[in-house]
Point group: C2
Chain length 243, copies 2
Amino acid sequence: MNEVVRHLRAHRSIRKYQDSPLTDEQIHAAVVAGQAASTSSAVQAYTLMQITDPSKLERLVELTGGQSKVAHCGAFFVVCGDMRRHELLCQRQGQPFEVSLETFIVAVVDASLFAQNVCVAFESMGLGICYIGGLRNDLDEVDELLDLPTGVLPLYGLCVGEPAERPSARPRLPAELIWCRDHYPTDDEVLSQIDAYDTQYQSYMEARGAAAVSWSMRMVGQHAQARRVALAHYYRTKGVKLS
Amino acid sequence: MNEVVRHLRAHRSIRKYQDSPLTDEQIHAAVVAGQAASTSSAVQAYTLMQITDPSKLERLVELTGGQSKVAHCGAFFVVCGDMRRHELLCQRQGQPFEVSLETFIVAVVDASLFAQNVCVAFESMGLGICYIGGLRNDLDEVDELLDLPTGVLPLYGLCVGEPAERPSARPRLPAELIWCRDHYPTDDEVLSQIDAYDTQYQSYMEARGAAAVSWSMRMVGQHAQARRVALAHYYRTKGVKLS
């Protein structure tokens, strides 16, 4: 295993940080590394908005469902898909501009390839990271708080900082289930691989002192009710044509 | 600059490959490194489908707009957001299941964090990669060709292999435009940064012997017409509720 693969495999999401702030040099280096990722036809459809204003951070703790780490880490960022630049350029040329579903997917993918490189870079500096999906709990409020123009589409938060915990790795689905060849596996194949994984996942949860739930039951619980149902309305108000 | 950051910054998309196939060991190592990326509440909503069937590869060359590298590289993959496993688990428990916009975004993000790690890992083995957005040209046809069940959502292709070219890096937008603090920049700030970048981008294109188009004009051209307008219909037939 080479050093880069070893580094990628050493990732753990960090949920407790020391308060020491990141330096601008660290952030700049991670952003440049993020920008080196592939981007669809060079659109570079992303923005990394760092939030430093203490009152905004406290409000973001509430909006993400009480995640205090948002205000207590080395730096907190909002990762945005960003079509604002393209919109301004089209306006300047008198051309119409619209964010279609295709454009939206490009922005989400572009932002995520960028963000993952940013995270891998931060981790290579000895820092820990955690993506914050809870940012999507109430994007209308996030949008108002950050005063985001049309075309700037917040997707998730990102905590970065000096780790104040050393969690163990949560087991993943068997690679044989994730990687298939020419044919998607049959339902029986999928379920039998998951059954084996459930046992492993449950042991891990027990060892952590958490409720010994299987992955299957956790997934069923998570999907029993629709979540964040206001999202489509929010993105539509931002000019995204979802259909 | 540490070795990992140097590695990330050395990325170039590779569009010409030698035909030597990847080994299973290489692919397995990259998949495991991909799985180490963060995943939203452990959903692991992705599948990497390798296509080896020569007739399918030839058809995919056509469907991606004549990109012959799809059939001429070390391995070609289709990166899918994957909610199939969750659907099967809910069915087994007699629970309803629906892919909402939130679930769709989770799948696109999860798949992209995974895919970017996979690419970084492949590149650390001396291989080159290229994402193939052209896969979305006609997903109905792709779906039928690959016989994908509901919940398996093809997003983009991925070529991997021994590079047969050494391209230079295409310049990126200034990091100062991508990374902002507390406030999104004003329209004037955005446009003046882009104007400076345009000059740099144009020189790069000229040096490559390509048409000396600025980034701005390229972006305006790309967004003048809506592309891949059938996408929303396709994802809806796959059970995604976009609104």
